[in-house]
């Protein structure tokens, strides 16, 4: 009986929270208020303020602007394309991560089960489906997904499009990264732009796309400077604080905020290096972090970093993997950026990037956080581990969940991290 009352209270609380959030996200005033509050919050770092402002702008575009053409996309679509076409992108995976940090993932996962999504699927996508069903995601005018890296994203977006009757375009990304692959992909991007012009009712402005590519190049240059500053010993930035870089890398390039964000981050890191004031005081063992980490609050990182002195010097998914884009051939250079991703193709591409970064950041070991349901990242860890070991780099694999706190067993993870650190010290 008591349990039933508790569950019922929880359901009421969830409904209230959803209702408030829904209203907040869809109201221009609510978003302005949130921006103001964030801007005056408890001393956020300058780059965090830029990031928060950018995501609130993103939310304003997707949720509150009725004239905006909202396109749902997976995170492997180049963001420059959206900004260059004047579209409002919405990345369900990214917002599932954000939802997790707001304590909404349990709700999302439960809702998705009711929709028929099997529990074996990645929780980013299940949570997304649930949050969308709860009305926490904005409307979509069109959907787009790439075939690269993650199987589930394309399937989910195709499903959403089918259910809503809105157009869906699937970008088939080659596994090779040669010029023929770039030709094939660039032709699809051209076709996609033509489709969107017809479906969403706008005229393609090449100058606007060129400008987005120009901004992307500027941000890239600054991001590379940040990566260089992170080589310093002691490491200037706390690695756990950089886990959200994937969200930035996959959404902010091509937007003016991208330049502001990486400039602020570069300046912040440079200042830390110059003053020899690292964010993390206890620095004993330099580590390379592979894949993602939990988006919700967990004791895992404070234990690794502060108690044990593990220094996450760089994260695999913070990598800027692409060459400078050609402003004269924007679509073609975006295609080149897409096929150049190190998670596409055989696992050796990923391993080479890992070994290069381990050497660059002078790491003694690597940790792979295997997110539940992510087959592409964890499927070939046997090969990754053996190759890293051959090069003298031990790899610790931690099984957990980035989104669902119920699927993260902290006790065993702590023990494994402790044993790994003892071995490295």
């Amino acid at each position: 009986m008591l349990r039933r009352i508790g569950a019922s209270r929880q359901a009421v609380a969830d409904r209230l929270r959803i209702g408030v959030l829904r209203q907040l996200l869809r109201s221009r005033l609510g978003l302005h208020l949130a921006r103001a509050v964030l801007g005056r919050g408890p001393a956020p770092k300058p780059y965090q303020r830029v990031a928060a402002d950018f995501f609130l702008q993103l939310a304003a575009g997707a949720y509150a602007d009725r004239r905006a053409r909202v396109v749902w996309a997976n995170i492997f679509m180049p963001p420059e394309l959206f900004w260059g076409l004047g579209l409002a992108p919405f990345f369900p995976e990214t917002w599932a991560g954000l939802g997790s940090s707001l304590g909404l993932s349990r709700l999302g996962v439960e809702r998705s089960e009711a929709l028929g999504y099997p529990v074996e699927l990645c929780t980013f996508h299940r949570s997304s489906a649930g949050l969308a069903a709860a009305g926490l995601y904005p409307r979509a005018d069109a959907y787009v997904a790439t075939s690269s890296v993650c199987d589930v994203a394309g399937q989910m977006l195709a499903g959403y499009a089918h259910a809503s009757g809105r157009p869906f375009y699937f970008v088939d990304v080659p596994q090779a990264d040669d010029e023929a692959a770039v030709d094939y992909l660039a032709a699809q991007l051209r076709e996609l732009v033509e489709c969107w012009e017809a479906q969403l009712g706008f005229t393609f402005d090449p100058e606007r796309l060129r400008q987005a590519v120009h901004l992307s190049n500027q941000a890239r240059k600054l991001a590379l400077e940040v990566a260089a500053l992170r080589e310093a010993q002691p490491a200037p930035l706390r690695g756990s604080g950089m886990m959200d870089q994937l969200a930035m890398v996959t959404s902010i390039f091509g937007h003016p905020a991208g330049v502001a964000y990486y400039r602020a981050l570069r300046d912040y890191a440079a200042e830390r290096v110059q003053r020899a004031e690292p964010e993390q005081a206890n620095q004993r063992v330099r580590l390379y972090w592979m894949h993602l980490g939990p988006y919700f609050a967990t004791e895992l990182f404070p234990h690794l970093e502060d108690d044990l002195g593990g220094v996450i010097t760089f994260e695999e998914l913070s990598s800027v993997w692409w060459d400078e884009l050609d402003e004269d051939e924007p679509l073609r250079s975006l295609a080149r950026k897409m096929v150049a991703h190190f998670l596409i193709g055989p696992v050796e591409r990923r391993i080479e990037v890992a070994l290069g970064q381990v050497a660059r950041y002078r790491c003694l070991g690597a940790i792979h956080f295997s997110h539940w349901g992510c087959r592409q990242s964890s499927g070939a860890l046997h090969v990754v581990r053996n190759r890293l070991r051959k090069e003298g780099v031990p790899l610790l694999v931690l099984d957990g969940d980035c989104v669902d706190p119920d699927n993260l067993q902290l006790g065993p993870l702590r023990t494994r991290v402790e044993a790994f650190m003892e071995m490295l010290v």
Partner: protein, 378 residues
């Protein structure tokens, strides 16, 4: 039709969209890789426990049985699991991987052009391995052999639907066609058809509940036996084994190798789509066609556990089939065996369908009531 080459090397494939004709024209015997291990235990040291159960089972089969009759394997860009299987395979399986083929996910002119060029690259790669050059004549001959096989399989399907061939024999023939030298398989198909040499008749639905099975490679034989023992009749199987195979004859008027490769690319990309194509409208239309043509009354999705493409598509498939009045049961399988719990769920599902069918029968036709799907959760 005779091959003008000595018995070639047996090459394993992992996709229904990789043209077998190409390998056959180069003197190889292309076979689809089926798992033989009963359990994935041997694969556990190499891939995570939450990795596609079918891929784990295939890997375990080769870890346990070594080469298992294969001289080489050609991988393709099916899904995340196949990509990672390719990585792990090269590290631990004693069968050389001759290549990794990117199969486009569209049948557009652009994709066909891309696939034609990829097949050309594969041919060049295989010429070195097989020790012979690809000629237009050899390709034409290979296409004829497989066209004959398609025709024989279509006839076998008609006989099966007309209940002149039982389901296990029909499925054995289809598997034979995927796993044997095509000339030997065609001979076996002809012999089997001769034994049931009666004029073809249109399918007339019988009184048993008619089932659609959905699977990746093939529905487990144990499941097919179980449903038929319980009085249901399998009338369609949306899997690589059956409905997703390329069925239309491929153009044989080939003047150049490029002509042949383009014809193959077009035909294989236009075959009934699986979930990897992310073409939900076309895929659902294919399922709706099966439901209408075969009088399907219920469906069982027999998917491998952790097989993302199928599991992520499942809610859309379920909603669509339910909209057509076809209830759906989802089974997530660890291996080819049907567990006691799954057996119970299948039996309960069939009882409900049978009761519904009987009710509809007594109240006249049109009683497919669109009941809620049952989902196996383990």
């Amino acid at each position: 039709m005779r091959r003008d080459a000595p018995a070639g090397q047996t090459v394993g494939l992992f996709s229904s969209q990789l043209p077998r004709e190409l390998l056959y024209a180069l003197g190889c015997i292309p076979v689809r890789v089926f798992p033989s291990a009963p359990k994935p235990t041997a694969a556990e040291a190499f891939v995570p426990r939450n990795f596609c159960a079918l891929s784990r089972l295939i890997l375990a089969s080769f870890l346990e049985n070594g080469q298992a009759g294969l001289d080489a394997a050609v991988f393709s860009d099916e899904d995340d699991a196949t990509r990672r299987l390719y990585d792990v395979w090269r590290a631990c399986v004693p069968v050389p991987a001759w290549g990794f083929v990117e199969v486009p996910r569209s049948a557009s002119g652009l994709a066909v052009g891309r696939y034609t060029s990829i097949l050309g690259q594969l041919a060049a790669q295989l010429e070195g391995r097989a020790g012979r050059s690809l000629s237009a004549a050899a390709l034409q001959q290979a296409i004829r052999v497989y066209n004959e096989q398609r025709q024989l399989l279509s006839q076998a399907r008609q006989r099966w639907l007309a209940a002149r061939v039982d389901t296990s024999t029909y499925r054995r023939l289809r598997r034979l066609a995927l796993t044997q030298d095509p000339l030997a398989a065609n001979l076996a198909l002809r012999e089997a058809l001769d034994e049931t040499n009666l004029p073809g008749e249109p399918f007339v639905p019988g009184p048993a509940p008619r089932l659609l099975l959905l699977a990746e490679l093939a529905a487990p034989a144990g499941l097919v036996r179980l449903v038929e023992e319980r009085g249901a009749r399998v009338v369609a199987e949306d899997s690589d084994l059956d409905e997703r195979g390329s069925t239309e004859p491929i153009l044989t008027e080939i003047r150049t190798v490029d002509d042949g490769l383009a014809a193959l690319a077009r035909a294989y990309l236009s075959a009934p789509p699986g979930p990897r194509m992310r073409d939900l409208p076309r895929r659902l239309a294919q399922l709706a066609r099966l439901v209408a043509e075969r009088g399907v009354q219920a469906a069982i999705c027999a998917y491998s556990k952790f097989c993302d493409l199928y599991l992520a598509e499942y809610p859309a498939v379920r909603a669509h089939l339910e909209g057509l009045g076809v209830p759906v049961l989802l089974l997530e399988l660890e291996d080819d065996a049907i567990s006691g719990q799954q057996r119970t769920r299948v039996e309960a599902f069939l009882e409900t369908v049978q009761a519904q069918t009987a009710g509809a029968g007594s109240a006249g036709r049109g009683g497919r009531g669109g009941r809620r799907a049952e989902t196996d959760r383990r």
